[in-house]
């Protein structure tokens, strides 16, 4: 394969970033269903041909946008979590950071308000399984120092599941963007379940626990 000159690569990268930013703006304004590739090209100030060279159609463009937004969310979570020392603080920070970013996301807000059916397949039934698995893998390295590497993905999935359970069916008492509210959730219902006492009275043999965490 031919090596792409560095400058051309940067230019393409900058154009791709501009297109993705434009896609996000268009979705915030019109929603996913009504946004066209032409809308995005116009918003980004690039030609239709340039856009298709970068993203060969609406679906690849949407996939690239979701990947970028999730990566940005993961980076923000990891940066926020770096300053925390104990597991309680880590979990409060992770959950509040994620909830605030998601709540402040204009494109996401438009989709949830006007076309939730676009997202529901990823948030319910088997589709949610893949989403939780993905979120669990993002959280695992942060949790590993506290719960051990063997258990970190399993713990990550549980944290993600709990956040999703409160995001999808808003609660009158728990607000995930409020650190105090999340702290009581974390200390009462989350941390004691993640740190397992090895002499626990319950007879969960380590054989299967090991298998599950692999």
């Amino acid at each position: 394969m031919d090596a792409v000159p560095v400058q051309a690569e940067n230019t393409a990268g900058a154009a791709a970033a501009r297109v993705l930013g434009a896609a996000r703006t268009c979705i915030a304004r019109f929603g996913v269903t009504k946004t066209t590739v032409d809308d995005v090209a116009r918003e980004a100030g690039v030609s239709r041909a340039t856009l298709y060279r970068l993203f060969p159609g609406k679906q690849p463009l949407l996939e690239a946008l979701v990947t970028r937004e999730l990566a940005a969310l993961a980076v923000e979570i990891h940066e926020a979590a770096a300053a925390t020392k104990c597991l309680d603080d880590l979990l409060v920070t992770v959950i509040v950071t994620a909830a605030r970013r998601l709540e402040g996301h204009a494109a996401l807000a438009t989709v949830l308000a006007h076309e939730p059916e676009v997202l529901l397949p990823y948030l319910t039934f088997d589709g949610a399984g893949a989403t939780l698995d993905r979120a669990g893998r993002v959280l695992a390295p942060l949790l590993a120092p506290h719960v051990g590497p063997d258990r970190s993905e399993r713990a990550g999935e549980w944290v993600a599941r709990m956040a999703l359970a409160y995001l999808c069916a808003p609660s009158e008492v728990v607000r995930l963007t409020d650190p105090d509210s999340v702290r009581s959730l974390v200390t009462d219902f989350l941390v004691p379940g993640l740190i397992v006492n090895p002499s626990s009275q319950h007879d969960a043999p380590s054989r299967s626990t090991k298998r599950m965490t692999q």
């Binding site: 059916e117 529901l120 399984g129 808003p170 008492v173 397992v196």
Partner: protein, 198 residues
């Protein structure tokens, strides 16, 4: 004189929801019209609108809630005699998951009209959180009386939380296989109830 049910609002409601369910089973959500429900139920159009002023959309949402109610009733009946909370939740997860997979109508519409169904189902299932919480409350009180719960827990809050997590686990097992008793015991006693039990 018409049958004994004709003046009973609950019976009429039941009749219309059952008719809507039958129509959806036959032609799906999108193609079911109020006219279909009128024909299926043998009730006048005016009466349908008197009971469901929102028409088709309201009928659909209420029918999903109606069938969800049946599902939860079967689930409650299945678990109510379990000896303690751990066994109740274990048995409930296994039964709820199996019933979900064996619900032919649900599975068919998830394949054919997921867009329409998921919206209705998400709206309605969020409403079941208080219902499941209320079902769990006496079992939590029993655990507390037996000294198996951590001190100073607010049981209403615990019930609400467990209801959410159980609902999530019913719809999405994720990494867990409920038919493996060892995995199930680990999930229930560590993740789910670990924070609550002594």
């Amino acid at each position: 004189m018409a049958g004994p049910t004709s003046n009973d609002p609950l019976a009429m409601r039941e009749r219309l929801l059952a008719a809507t369910y039958a129509c959806v089973a036959r032609v799906g959500i999108a193609k079911t019209t109020v006219e279909d429900v009128v024909r299926e139920s043998g009730v006048s159009r005016a009466t349908v609108y008197r009971y469901f002023p929102g028409g088709r959309d309201e009928l659909m949402l209420e029918t999903v809630g109606w069938e969800l109610g049946h599902y939860l009733t079967r689930l409650g009946d299945h678990v109510r005699d379990e000896p303690d909370l751990v066994h109740l939740v274990e048995s409930g997860l296994v039964f709820a998951r199996r019933s979900l997979l064996e619900h032919a109508m649900l599975q068919r519409i998830l394949q054919t009209e997921p867009d329409r169904l998921l919206g209705l189902l998400t709206t309605e299932s969020a409403k079941t959180v208080p219902f499941i919480a209320a079902f769990l409350l006496p079992y939590l009180q029993r655990e507390q009386a037996a000294g198996r719960l951590r001190a100073n827990l607010d049981l209403d809050r615990v019930g609400e939380h467990l209801a959410r997590m159980i609902l999530s686990l019913i719809g999405t097992p994720g990494r867990w296989a409920y038919d493996d008793p060892v995995q199930l015991r680990a999930l229930v006693t560590e993740e789910l109830l670990g924070p609550l039990l002594t």
